[in-house]
Symmetry: C2
Subunit: 205 residues, 2 copies
Amino acid sequence: MSEEKKVSSNVVWHQATVDRQARETMNGHKSVILWFTGLSGSGKSTLAHAVEEKLHELKCRTYVLDGDNIRHGLCGDLGFSDQDRVENIRRIGEVAKLFLESGVISLTAFISPFRADRDNVRHITSDEDFFEIYCKCSLDICESRDVKGLYKKARAGEIKEFTGINSPYEEPLNPEVTVDTGTETLEESAEKVLNLLIERGIIQR
Amino acid sequence: MSEEKKVSSNVVWHQATVDRQARETMNGHKSVILWFTGLSGSGKSTLAHAVEEKLHELKCRTYVLDGDNIRHGLCGDLGFSDQDRVENIRRIGEVAKLFLESGVISLTAFISPFRADRDNVRHITSDEDFFEIYCKCSLDICESRDVKGLYKKARAGEIKEFTGINSPYEEPLNPEVTVDTGTETLEESAEKVLNLLIERGIIQR
């Protein structure tokens, strides 16, 4: 029966194998997760976007995950309790892993204050795939910037569990890069990240 | 103070604008969500991978989201209750939207039985961005294939709320494409999808 044959051919079709390596070859660069972590106001998102711009100029496929596209979408159901923060970072890590498989360099810009949560993302990927970038900046400087006015609100008690004020930030122990966003220029910090990617063979100039 | 100046320059940096259009231009094709829906065993994942292979040959950037990479990762905390199914599809829709913004053609292969859930994904994107592809196949054929042995378990009462058996499947009302995976060959179905993408100006041969 011809219909039977067709149905059967549908089922036994060899699973197509467009895999990460095939995508990386097409892109001309490897994929990786660039995980920016640091206090609110430390310049994570600004740096991530600056690095993305440089990568884009080098014809790399990139995507920045940050509060703008995550907090109102995928994680719109989560608040800021410890439990919700853990779930927030878990989901972001899983999404970054999907982008990794898709051949895209993803840049995540979240405070991600807890060491265990960041380590979990490293563990669902690998040391070769996960670059932790510590945006080091003193609380004083971050608070003096206060771009979003959040520190003022936290000091006034209007925001509870605000990282650095009444909720801890756990510094990375062995980040792939530390950028001193309090003293370096944005250009200097971005170049540090770019140079790491070149050293590790992820991209080429 | 030079340090002050540097700090300030970090803050006022113009937000980089690598946007969807810039990515699409680099890729040489538009991004879109190809949402495959249909009964278990209707060939959604097989078809999605076949379409992806054709797109990859045309140098398109693609990624398939299916049970293999979602159910154990991002949605590993969800079960199969109605509530969890809704949340499952919501998250997949949000992730597909992120891929859309990143310039990648994402292909999602999930039963996604509820019309409202699929429509929600359409609404967080747009009619231009969301192509619903109905993998139409009779329950008889799907059940006779029973690749994963799930229908047998559902009939035996070992799986509750199994779509088509004791949980409803709501057919798309106005899908962008209907492929009859019960009678068409995989090649025919995949070509239908490719032709739609060409007609709509998403890709070029």
